[in-house]
Amino acid sequence: MGKDLIIKVMNHETIDRVPWVPFAGVHAGKLKGFTAKEVLTDGQKLYESLLEVNKLYKPDGMPVVFDLQIEAEILGCDLLWAEDAPPSVNSHPLKDTKEIPCKCKIPEAKQGRIPMVLDVMKKLSAEIGNETALYGLICGPFTLASHLRGNSIFKDMIKDAKYVKELVEFCAEVNIKMAEYYIDAGMDVIAIVDPLVSQVSSKHFHNILADSFESVFSYIRSKGKFSSFFVCGDATNQMEEMCLTKPDNISIDENVDIVKAKETTDKYNIVISGNIPLTTVMLHGNQQDNMKYVVDLLDSITKDNLILSPGCDMPYDVPIENTIGAAMAVINTAETREMVANYQAVEEDIEVDLPDYDHLKKPLVEAFTLDSATCAACTYMWGAAQFAKEHFKDEIDIVEYKYTTKENIARCKKMGVTNLPSLYINGKLKWKSIIPSEDELFEEIKKNMN
């Protein structure tokens, strides 16, 4: 049974094949014709969609709900809903007030969408919990703190680290409470999903964030469950520090070289998960691209302490056959290797015109993102650009290129963008993965003013 594979790999036992965990969050809805909003707000629709995921994708483990805004919504953030993506946070209750919320605000099991989630967890646990490992996903303490405080948190990290540490500790207590609810509802793995971790320096991670993460993982372990640390973006430099917080598993996306990262996680005997590219392969590739990618990945990496999964939450519109192809490649690798032996990926040639960067009338700030509506790190990178626009008004231009269209993928290629999110000014790369504080950004923009 698939669940046994997950338990064995987490316990570092030898297994016959690498386990497969597709992160079908809102994408689950697509399988039953429901919108993202429907599966994130309607328990019955979510339940039906997840049963379909279990049937079609043959997962060894799967998340029940992938929405990093559940806790933030209860704590007072307004959400902007989308039909094909999880909601995003568009107001920050601590934006203008540097407070630590009262602990009486830690979400209760009856608040917000938690009752719906717990109900689905219990039903799913009863229905498929014996054969499939179920993941309860929680918005990590740093991303949650950013939801509450907004972009100012990056400035706070430099100017008032103590405040950020306390706010993140509060959010870690929220994590612990949520973990308790989810474990009681039958979850086998508790994943702390903190995409923003990749956006700060490893020194900041060590000094301000690490204690809170370690506390949460200690708690999960004390409950006899496995803990997982999900990060998105280029967390290459954080791998060592993340390992030191002692999760059972770390999950990374395509921004990190999984073969190299695994050398680090192996050193600490931590299971690594990853990292089929979400957009280029899963969303815009075809079935053979997905099969080939998985086979090539499995052929290039050691098989112990490994879980095969998408880089992060799968985009809503991933063609169903692509995931089926990826599943096939994990479950029947030898057979799939034969099938794609002679396959060459089709390169599409799309022409894009780049601005004449040398003759711009005013500074141009370009944010290259996976999608600011769905990727938290991208939200804050684009947020920084928008903040600059509010400040400089007509003196600058800003634009976001989401990696969700073929035109923008071609633009990234032409510009030589290697990491998302990245911020360019007048065609030059200024910040890669790391989100600038407003002081740094404003200074750089001023340098480019005539």
């Binding site: 407070e99 630590i100 919320p101 009262c102 602990k103 009486c104 306390e166 500790e169 509060f170 870690a172 207590e173 612990i176 204690d211 809170s212 370690e214 506390s215 949460v216 200690s218 708690y219 372990r221 004390s222 409950k223 006899g224």
Partner: protein, 307 residues
């Protein structure tokens, strides 16, 4: 009949529960209500004195003076009006700040809770650690300033000169309050409370805001533990705590654990408790969880169970 409301403050481990027992003994002919406000979700103090004959209302999850719990505190008092009591003793958490007690009294009177008269506040000072704790915790200063009776307890741990120094510091902060020096809180409370006056204090907004609440960790300890391992564990983890309390089975016998500032007391328990738990009050915030996990794995083979 009007019940007299008396507040007991003092830092964790200073002797509040001991004082409560003394008061109950001193007023045993009277009808007494007790409100105990524990940080931990289990009322360890509640169990220690639960064989006594009085009504107990516990308020968990934080200080009664915490703004988010004011309502619960008042609910507890309203509940107690049913019992026609002579005295209500409120044992608060170690970090409680009594400066808004007057405004709580005001709320009570507005709600026609005329059955209560606020008699005043007794503050217990832990002589052994006074200087260290005083510098660390602003709530202690407020407790001194807003008290009518101040007890310097654990006098046997200090010299007379040192006790004089402590007294001087306290009198500087509050010259109106009565000051006594005790060991094990022994004193004639009938006489002391007779002329305890309720001074007209300025109503201050309590500094005991929600974020200053402590992180409490509860451990389920249902296995049998060896004295050696337990001692080592407590001695090492105590540096990250203000206080550790609870009941645990040591070498086959149920023992009561009390640790204050790394002074570890493990005594055979005569309490009829069946709940084996340890409550740790962290001095390092949430990181206590990691340290507990680390030390636990170092000294015990049993799985750590955080409740």
């Amino acid at each position: 009949m009007m019940a007299e409301l008396l507040l007991i403050t003092g830092f964790l481990g200073s002797g509040k529960t001991t004082l409560l027992k003394e008061l109950i003994e001193a007023f045993k002919t009277k009808k007494i209500g007790v409100v105990i406000n524990e940080f931990g979700e289990t009322g360890i103090d509640g169990r220690l004195i639960s064989h006594e004959n009085f009504d107990l209302v516990e308020i968990n999850n934080g200080s009664v003076f915490c703004s988010c719990l004011k309502d619960k505190f008042i609910d507890a008092l309203i509940e107690m009006t049913k019992y026609d009591l002579d005295y209500i003793f409120v044992e608060s958490t170690g970090l409680a700040d009594p400066s808004n007690m007057d405004s709580i009294s005001e709320i009570l009177s507005k709600q026609k809770m005329s059955k209560y008269k606020y008699k005043g506040s007794i503050c217990i000072i832990d002589a052994e650690y006074f200087e260290d704790l005083f510098d660390l915790l602003p709530a202690i200063e407020r407790q001194i300033v807003f008290s009518e009776l101040i007890i310097i307890n654990k006098a046997d741990t200090r010299t007379q000169d040192e006790l004089d120094e402590i007294s001087k510091k306290i009198v500087n902060l509050n010259s109106k309050a009565r000051l006594i020096i005790t060991t094990f809180c022994k004193a004639d409370y009938v006489a002391l409370l007779e002329d305890l006056y309720s001074a007209a204090h300025t109503v201050g907004e309590s500094i005991n805001t929600p974020e200053s609440r402590l992180k409490t960790v509860r451990l389920r300890v249902e296995e049998n533990y060896t004295m050696t391992a337990l001692n080592q564990f407590l001695k090492e983890i105590c540096q990250y705590t203000y206080r550790i309390k609870g009941f645990i089975q040591v070498d086959g016998e149920v023992c009561e654990i009390s640790v204050v500032n790394c002074t570890v007391n493990i005594n055979k328990s005569d309490s009829q408790t069946s709940i084996l738990e340890l409550v740790l009050i962290s001095s390092i915030g949430i990181s206590i969880l990691s340290r507990v996990a680390e030390m636990w794995n170092k000294y015990f083979d049993h799985t750590l169970q955080i409740i």
